[in-house]
Symmetry: C2
Subunit: 316 residues, 2 copies
């Protein structure tokens, strides 16, 4: 039996659906029934339910976007640092293996291969970097799980949200029987405020950057496969292999939806941060070699994106 | 047997000395011997040592002052939020009662009684407030343990340090068998970078404000008395009753040490924050009624201060 914390959220509900589909018995724990932020209550629950696995899909994300976490700092620390640690302690005591849904937003930029050397570029909007991204995408390498976060409290600047997510990983990084599953910018065919495709269509202006991203169902599918197949515990970047630029996705939206209107883009970073955002944004490319090496399947990002647009539904 | 975490620090060493003086068997736990930030190690230690009580005097304070925590945010969250929660979980599992050394810096200002009404004044440097402080000190009431912190992430502005201290109290506030002992601006007769009297003598300019403060030995004495006397668990403001203004303390220094030089003061808040400080500072008056009602003794602040100056020693 699997215990699912945060099962009513955007990612949690996708886990619930996939567990249901696979006929894996599971119990969705919500704050209404169990105060899982209370150590004693959580320990009692684990003792009683004796789950074979636990998934924590709860956390503070900031609504409508990460800027909200700059103000709601208590909630960010409590949801993204204190909660993972509490769950880790409870699972440790009870001997329950578990997984934390984390985020790739603790990195900025990518590794660029040129003249046989690899260099880190934290800002992928710089013209000379962007030219490499556009002209020679195979030279753009992602951060692997061995790379330390470079968009965190330990390596400023970062958003408060990213700072807490990096710290959340840090506090559970040495725990036994623990998966850390890193999501990045979820998307799929269902219209939703959290869906990247919804966001892109609603923005007055689009911030053109470069990112690895995660198809929502592909993500939960791959995560559960990791557990079911008995892959080694540890950290995994769970994004669709490859990366996209916002401009590429906008073009795909225009082509698929036969949208005639022109999308407007922010001229540059300076304009974007001056007018649209208060916290610095993470934009990054992640390496999925470790994930794919386990045998778990994950479609290339273009394929997942094309299919989402093809099946697009704003009805659900 | 008492376990003392952070026993080599400024407050921890005072606890160690007092435990020694009282011949209470104790074990000082340092990171060198036990990684107390690791849940398993800490649980193992508690299981083996079976202490009757645990004191956590460790935490991130920011050196040379709280401004450092604005940058060292990971350390502040880890030391002031994550560590108390981890200790709380471990003590809960092991059934060990314990105490967290917290801080009164999660408040700003005082309660002012005038015309039979009590109002909150968060800024005690405002001229009309300061006049009441100077002319009618009995109208200045402190925050009690029932008052919610008003200098925290939940009530900005606050320093990052204060934000984490308030959150640290929050995460352990519902735990059983737990004391929260609030210290404020420690001082005593021994010259030390952390001693308020040392600081005041070293500043180029003094920031004149109003505060409840804690004599270091009086603090540990009162804290241990709370435990030894079996006082109810919960939160206690452990400051010397009353309050002082920086100007009053400077005058006491001048009188006692026959210092002839004039101390310079910052003209106002604006000048202080523009030139000397990056993070907002907590300045506040605390109510000690709850502490004194337990029968625990604490000298009035003036008496503790006079004696510290009388016995002043820069030799230790």
């Amino acid at each position: 039996m699997v215990i699912l914390i945060g099962g009513s959220g955007y990612m949690g509900s996708a886990f619930a659906a996939e567990l249901h589909k696979r006929q894996i018995p599971h119990q969705i724990v919500s704050r209404c029934t169990t105060d899982y932020t209370n150590f004693e209550s959580l320990c009692r629950l684990l003792e009683k339910a004796k789950p074979s696995f636990l998934i924590n899909a709860a956390g503070a994300v900031g609504k409508p976007n990460v800027d909200a976490c700059e103000l709601a700092r208590s909630e960010a620390v409590l949801g993204n640092v204190v909660l993972p640690q509490l769950i880790s302690n409870a699972c440790d005591i009870s001997g329950v293996p578990w997984a934390q849904v984390s985020s790739g937003c603790i990195y900025s930029g990518a590794k660029i291969l040129s003249d046989g050397k690899v260099r880190i570029e934290k800002d992928l909007t710089l013209p000379h970097v962007r030219q490499i991204v556009d002209d020679s995408p195979s030279s753009v390498l992602g951060y692997s799980e061995d790379d330390s976060p470079n968009f965190s409290f330990r390596e400023s600047p970062c958003s408060f949200y990213s700072g807490t997510k990096a710290l959340g990983e840090e506090v559970i990084s040495k725990a036994k029987q623990t998966y850390i599953w890193r999501l990045r910018i979820p998307f799929d065919e269902y219209d939703n405020d959290r869906n990247y495709l919804t966001k892109l269509q609603r923005y007055d202006r689009v911030y053109d950057n470069v990112n690895s991203i995660s198809h929502r169902q592909d993500f939960v599918h791959a995560c559960l496969d990791l557990w079911v197949s008995g892959a080694n515990f540890g950290t995994y970047n769970v994004t669709n292999p490859g990366f996209v630029t916002s401009r590429q996705v906008v073009e795909m939206i225009q082509r698929n939806f036969k949208v005639r209107r022109a999308f407007k883009f922010w001229k540059d970073d300076e304009e974007f941060y001056r007018l649209a955002a208060s916290a610095p944004r993470s934009n990054c490319v992640l390496d999925t070699t470790k994930l794919l090496a386990t045998g778990v399947k994950m479609r290339p990002v273009e394929e997942a994106m094309e299919e989402s647009l093809l099946r697009w539904s704003s009805a659900v």
